[in-house]
């Protein structure tokens, strides 16, 4: 069964990506995490996202289009990336989420991927 781990990071973690003193530890931890996922044979895919300030949000409600600089919502922790894994159970997915570096700084949210719906009869 596929699950997506949503990697929520604090502003401080997002800064660590480019901070000369912290970036080795930051990227080392994430590179190791994805290596462990791949080597254990559970990784389906994923990506790290550029920081929220690079986001552009589009809304088209009631025929009106609004394009806005910045993320969907300003929150303390921001989506920094995601990983899709294939594991037998939610318990296993939570084990992997606990190992995600953001779990000990921000959060790692686990959602089951919806299975593709059956073709219409």
């Amino acid at each position: 069964m596929q699950y997506t781990i949503l990697v929520y990071e604090t502003a401080s973690e997002l800064t660590a990506r480019t901070d000369p003193k912290r970036k080795d530890a930051y990227w080392g931890a994430y590179r190791a995490y994805t290596t462990a996922l791949r080597e254990a044979g559970v990784m389906v895919g994923g990506a790290a996202l550029e920081p929220p300030r690079t986001a552009t949000t589009v809304r088209q409600h009631d025929g009106k289009r609004r394009v806005q600089d910045g993320p969907f919502a300003e929150t303390k922790e921001q989506l920094g990336g995601y990983v899709v894994i294939d594991v037998p159970s939610l318990d296993k997915a939570l084990e992997w989420a606990a190992r995600c570096p953001s779990a000990s700084t921000g959060a790692a949210e686990v959602r089951p991927n919806m299975s593709p719906s059956p073709p219409p009869a």
């Binding site: 931890a29 995490y33 290596t35 462990a36 080597e39 939570l94 084990e95 606990a98 000990s104």
Partner: protein, 406 residues
């Protein structure tokens, strides 16, 4: 908090398990006993501030809970004959309550929780909930399980106990050792509660270590002649003695071999040694006594500054005969590497099936360490990567990242 509320809480904490075990054993229904006791505790919080705290809070709670159970059974339209029985049970209070001296059924309850018919993954949570009254969210967090999943599991096992008619009793002498093993395993699982590396766990993340030690003490008190119960308690106390040394002042991870022994707790180590010696007199070795003996060998470093790795490797060989777990196999490889040579340790690691260690952090950490010692840099780097990626603890992750680089 008012005195009455404090008294209710104190009574609950001190006697929850005893009250619940007694009610569940009499009614053969853990879930209903829990509901009734929960209602009784709520009633105490409402009543005691008005009436004052009763002389025997336990007896009060027992009566209130029993009344709930009887009322519940009446609502379930029981037959007249059964109702007569229920009234009789209610009247038993005259017999028990003067001293709140109702029988202690906690041992029977522990055996129910670790019964072979109960799903292994549910045993420890069930014990923590029924004997200690721990709340479901805390149990779910400790075992890294979604709270909704955990509560479903607990509801299911309680239904199973009722429907399968699992008896609240101490197993017959012929079965006792085997059944006790399951109880001790479940307690030990609470001590580890999700951390792969018990001896190296972050001291701030105490998990359920205190609760496990409390359960360990309870079993040694209720079954004073069981050497393995003493062995388990000795093992947990030895590990607990080192908790303050597992981090340096800066909060960094410190591996066992580099720990400052002056920060180990001598009283806890002494208690563990006494327990282990008492267990050994029964001349019935077992898995937990061996594990405790291994920790006892490590503890010697506090006395003479040395670690006898050859002795530790031999003890692990013994342990593997009782419990060939992946953890024990990896620890054996570590002891071999220290006692003899890095490649002896590596060979022991190679003998472990690859699929068993795909997600087992300590294996990869040791592998990285040994390969680095042998100068096989690229392989060491790859092994460290997997160890880092499998770590949950940021301090451990940082420590391994430094090792990998330096």
């Amino acid at each position: 908090m008012s005195d009455a509320a404090a008294a209710a809480e104190l009574a609950a904490r001190a006697s929850y398990g005893r009250l619940l075990a007694y009610l569940a054993a009499r009614w053969r229904d853990v879930a209903r006993a829990e509901d009734a006791l929960g209602d009784a505790l709520l009633a105490a919080l409402e009543t005691w501030p008005r009436t004052g705290v009763p002389d025997k809070p336990e007896a009060w709670l027992l009566t209130a809970a029993r009344r709930r159970l009887v009322d519940g059974a009446r609502h379930a339209s029981v037959t007249a004959a059964a109702e007569a029985d229920l009234t009789l049970m209610l009247d038993e209070r005259a017999e028990h309550e003067p001293h709140a001296g109702f029988p202690d059924e906690r041992l029977a309850l522990l055996f129910v929780c670790a019964h072979p018919a109960i799903d292994e993954a549910a045993r420890t949570p069930l014990m923590l909930q029924t004997v200690l009254g721990l709340d479901g969210a805390r149990i779910a967090s400790a075992f890294l399980v979604a709270p909704a999943t955990m509560s479903q599991r607990l509801v299911r096992v309680k239904a199973k106990i009722r429907e399968a008619g699992i008896r609240f009793e101490i197993p017959a002498p012929g079965q006792l050792a085997e059944r006790l093993d399951a109880v001790l395993e479940a307690i030990y699982a609470a001590y580890g509660s999700g951390w792969e590396d018990v001896a190296g766990a972050d001291p701030r993340r105490r998990g359920l270590a205190e609760e496990a030690i409390w359960l360990g003490r309870l079993v040694t008190r209720l079954l004073p002649d069981a050497p393995e119960a003493r062995g388990l308690l000795a093992l947990m106390l030895h590990c607990e003695a080192r908790r303050p040394a597992r981090r340096n002042v800066a909060g960094g991870y410190v591996p066992l071999t580099e720990q400052d022994v002056t920060r180990w707790s001598l009283p806890l180590m002494a208690e563990a040694e006494r327990l282990l010696a008492a267990a050994a007199r029964a001349n019935a070795p077992g898995r937990f006594q061996l594990e405790a003996a291994i920790q006892s060998a490590h503890a010697q470093r506090a006395l003479n500054g040395k670690t006898d790795w050859e002795a530790i490797a031999l003890l692990y060989e013994g342990l593997l005969r009782y419990a060939p777990t992946i953890g024990a196999r990896v620890a054996y490889a570590a002891a071999l590497a220290e006692a003899r040579a890095a490649d002896a340790g590596l060979a022991a690691l190679d003998a472990i099936p690859a699929d068993a260690v795909a997600a087992y952090q300590p294996y990869w950490a040791l592998r990285g360490h040994l390969l680095k010692g042998l100068g096989r840099k690229a392989q060491a780097r790859a092994a460290y990567d997997r160890a880092i990626g499998l770590s949950e603890d940021p301090a451990l992750r940082e420590f391994l990242l430094r090792r990998q680089r330096g």
